[in-house]
Symmetry: C2
Subunit: 115 residues, 2 copies
DNA sequence: AGGCATACTTACATTTTTGTTCGTTACTTA
DNA sequence: TAAGTAACGAACAAAAATGTAAGTATGCCT
């Protein structure tokens, strides 16, 4: 696997590419929440621990641009926005699930409590 | 999944924990190379694109401390060191493989060339 | 008129991660 | 004697990711 360019950025392997799309602190938590229902901005904001508006809207915008989620704006007052997962996002949820299970195994392996 | 502490650090979900152990730019490339044979330090250094001594020895040390790899020093001159994967590391390789396949799929999906 | 609500954006500060350069040990070879 | 080699470590610099604080629009409610 040689290096390759994408989005004006250099990558060295497929994992790096995948994590450039769904990595970082908040994208997986967002996709995970959207996996079985629509969520609005404010609900995501209060559900995801410690997330700031900056990181939430930045993450949502990138996931949207990359086609992992879709967005619907309802012209109400105050405005309402709903985010949904797309087909591409559903594929991401599969690997997120695998990573999550691996993480749970590792936690057991390291003797970390979980309730 | 509530927050939890490990290694004096706060985590919010199992994925975050897993990636604290095998994430970053170089740990997966290292584990990937060790999956079917022993490698010595200098071979890893020249095989992994752009890696510096600092990052290589830092990554190796952490993987070693966390039990993903083992190390054998041969008292020759100049010294020779060999790194091997452990059982815990082999489990990591499984999820790395999944992530890699997902990355390849994503690349196709985004129309990125691969030879 | 003033405050509240939602869904954001912008500027700036701080933290985390990674890169660069240099030094070390102990012996061997030119 | 000087230079080379393998496998690092330490100090410092730069870059990338994240955090903080504040501001925006529209319109309702009091």
């Amino acid at each position: 696997m040689p290096d390759f360019f994408a989005d004006k950025h250099l990558f060295h392997n497929p994992v790096e590419f995948a994590l450039s799309k769904i990595g970082g602190s908040y994208k997986m938590p967002i996709l995970w929440r959207l996996k079985d229902k629509a969520w609005r901005y404010s609900a995501l904001a209060s559900s995801i621990p410690h997330i700031s508006d900056r990181m939430l809207s930045k993450s949502l915008k990138e996931l949207l641009n990359d086609g992992f989620i879709s967005k619907e704006i309802f012209p109400e007052v105050p405005p309402r926005t709903e985010y949904n997962i797309t087909e591409r996002g559903k594929k991401a949820v599969i690997i997120i699930t695998a990573l999550r299970n691996y993480g749970l195994d590792l936690m057991k392996d390291f003797g970390i409590a979980q309730e």
